[in-house]
Homo-oligomer: 484 residues x 2
């Protein structure tokens, strides 16, 4: 039968060119079973008139549909739906299910009950977003990222794009990490000592799973990154919270019998403290004498724009006791999901096998795109641009915080992208954050950073990585007014 | 100081255009500390002469290096290394570490000791690769994939590319799955009942973690996909292996007290059996009466080119007892790492929280690219092309297997991409596979598919998804000769 031209409507609000939308309209009609094998399509002239588009657009769309075998051209008599088109099976979806499983009991809510940082989905629409760790579109080098991605989509990289790496990583990315990224942290490593991960989150999760078993003792900084505490708790290990001071975690405060210590030595989260060299050496000496393992989350080390970055713990490790995690997601963009783990071969072997079991490997295309972006120097140029911008914003923050009489609890001598703030005793910053939302200001309440048994409610974090510098003054003033 | 032109060598074997390689050479020299802030670059003419390239190429590279702030142009006096370039810290990497940790004891080798399918890394260079589940470059629609990826790299999709989705998925991909993919399996679901995963492997891993706790009883098919058994074992659940027959898993053989059943009903791995409708209904009835959960791995359902695909278990589920896992990685390419989970809201909530903890989310860019590829109809065209090619290859397999007197143990009435084969009793197919490698033939020995307590050594799998049809006859003949 001939399909009446009235059956065709361009999909509303769809992305893509007119030609793409016509193809989509036809292929969807075929796939949904509305148009059937052998049906005759309207003439290109007729369809063009009906849709109000040029005839050449329809002809080009038809030609493409022929080459992808949705349509067949039969000489002068026109276009027909192909005989070989995919046919929808004639299943009737079951009527609305009646839930008969008590999922809360089955799952125990083990994973969804973790406390975490909340932020509104539409945070970008707030004028004063003091929100941590998001990409700033005005700094990102979108054009060069796109060029690198297009290069990684070329024929030459077909296998990188498509292959099932399973246990391997992209050799080009590994080489760049080994030769350029790790040496900047003082680390020299072999390929068998490095694993590419889905960002730092995944790196730390893998480390926790490989190193911890139920009942083991693990020391965490207090306060610390809440997702961190959550993933460690999941292993069944006993968490011992160790209070940090202005120099980070004091090694002498580590409780007896600790098996593993997780910490953010270079840039403590959330207080921004940097552990001095003497303390680093004392920590490693204790690790050696007491036989524990150290896991270092070396995030954001690139953002040292005020002081040279200090050497990583891993660079001081002469016994293979330190596991080092890092990430490109902060400096490139969080949606990238690429990070790394460095550790002894025996550790990396297990982490690699676990990664294989959980997700196989980070997509080859993302790895190769990042490898090009890094090796062509765009990454360093981006980091440089971010440092300059953050330095400026930090000055504006400093000034506004001083002018408004707010109290900084930790600001990181090296730079970074946030301030750890203390409100007067008695202020509940969760309530404060809610109130401030109404005034267009987003802050991060500090409670979730603290161990549950040592909860503090009057701290909060102010990040300047996503806020326009011109907005900083007014944003801080609003916070000060709200604290009153 | 002026940098002597002799300091410059184009990186050997590097990818990219001449201009890119010149930029890389300069930026690497700067980043490694060989060239320092204020150093004067050779003239573009001098460098062009030295490298044997055109002067305009060098000039363009210099211009780009200026815009990314590696170089500064000073009027007529030439180009200088910028003052703002990133400087390498002066760490001395620690001398070779002396490993002092017994990693085998620390980790227990818990993850690396899982049996798994082995294949040589250079499998593509073998003339007769009967290897399962890899992308066939001759069928893949590389051009349209690239177009979709470029579209997903556009300004309009900036947020999809970069954003930290955390708990969310790409709404465009979710919509396509809900409206097009799931209805083909008879499933109707709401957005809160679907989760995007890093391929089917990740989907099944998440399901195992959410549903199983130490000591619970889980039934697995025997034989089954070995990685599957490995990930279930990791949860500490008790595995009960249930032998499959020509119709897949017999529900009446499920042991008492089972909490969760994992199975591949539509297309049993590796025997290719399809569970008939009556058995599916019997299984769901048993699930309802005995209160267990069913997890269905619905992989490769698109490859039903001989018989219409049967409805998924999930489509028959009226009580919310079935969790459904599927993947785009088989039909698009394995390196894509995109799949999905469908289940009741209470289940998906936990799986989503766990995914967030483990890796946050699959990269937005891969999700959006897939969404375009799907919604523009390229996916269905690709699946169609694969079906036609596989049908042809399967006929060649059938013929060659018959002509050479080999025994098929399971071939899948619906189509698929492999045969499950039985060698005479006494043949160890692992030794056979090794011998065949020497003759350019890759087969998959069957032992790892069986539960350890019910090991069989004379089975093997022959896949035809990556072998050229013209090679099938000779490949099968070589296998027959080797079995003797």
């Amino acid at each position: 039968m001939a399909i009446p031209v009235e059956s065709f409507f361009l999909p509303q609000g769809a992305a893509g060119t007119l030609q793409q939308r016509i193809r989509q309209m036809v292929s969807e009609g075929i796939l949904s079973g509305r148009f059937r094998a052998g049906d005759r399509m309207p003439s290109s002239r007729g369809l063009a008139l009906h849709l109000g588009v040029s005839r050449i657009t329809v002809t080009l769309a038809y030609t493409e549909l022929v080459s992808s075998d949705y349509l067949t051209a039969r000489g002068r008599s026109g276009y027909y739906v192909s005989e070989g088109v995919p046919v929808q099976p004639a299943f009737q979806p079951v009527a609305r299910r009646e839930e008969r499983v008590d999922w809360a009991a089955v799952t125990g809510g083990r994973f969804s009950r973790q406390p975490r940082l909340e932020r509104p989905e539409d945070w970008r629409s707030y004028p004063y977003p003091f929100i941590y760790g998001q990409a700033d579109a005005s700094l990102f080098d979108h054009q060069n990222w796109r060029l690198c991605a297009v290069q990684a989509l070329g024929r030459r990289d077909f296998e990188t794009l498509t292959a099932d790496y399973y246990e391997q990583d992209d050799p080009m990315l590994i080489e760049y990490i080994l030769r350029n990224i790790l040496p900047r942290r003082g680390i020299s490593a072999r390929p068998s000592e490095v694993l590419v991960t889905m960002g730092a989150q995944n790196a730390l999760w893998l480390a926790a799973q490989v190193l911890l078993r139920p009942g083991q003792a693990v020391a965490l900084e207090n306060p610390c990154y809440p997702a961190f505490r959550g993933m460690v708790a999941q292993t069944g290990a006993r968490i011992m919270a160790v209070d940090v001071d202005a120099d980070g975690l004091p090694p002498e405060a580590l409780p007896a019998g600790v098996d593993v210590v997780f910490l953010t030595a270079s840039h403590h989260c959330p207080t921004n403290a940097t552990m001095p060299l003497a303390r680093r050496n004392a920590l490693l000496k204790a690790a050696s004498e007491r036989g524990f393992i150290v896991v270092e989350d070396d995030y954001e080390f690139e953002m040292s724009f005020l002081r040279p970055v200090s050497p990583s713990l891993k660079s001081l490790d002469s016994e293979g006791r330190v596991v080092h995690a890092g990430s490109f997601s902060k400096s490139i963009f969080p949606g990238l999901r690429l990070g790394w783990l460095v550790g002894s071969e025996g550790f990396i072997r297990e982490a690699r096998a676990l990664r294989g079991q959980v997700l196989r490997h980070p997509p080859g295309h993302m790895q190769r795109t990042a490898a090009y972006f890094l090796s062509l120097g765009h990454y360093d140029a981006l980091v440089n641009r971010m440092k300059m911008a953050f330095r400026k914003r930090r000055m504006a923050m400093d000034e506004a915080i001083g002018a408004n009489g707010l109290t900084v609890a930790g600001q990181g001598g090296f730079g970074g992208s946030s301030f750890w703030m203390e409100a007067p005793e008695g202020v509940d910053t969760e309530a404060l954050a809610l109130r401030l939302r109404g005034e267009g200001v987003l802050i991060e309440p500090g409670r979730v950073f603290f161990a549950p048994e040592a909860e503090r409610r009057n701290f909060y974090r102010l990040a300047y990585s996503s806020i326009a510098p011109a907005r900083i003054g007014e944003g801080i003033a609003r916070i000060a007014r709200a604290i009153g």
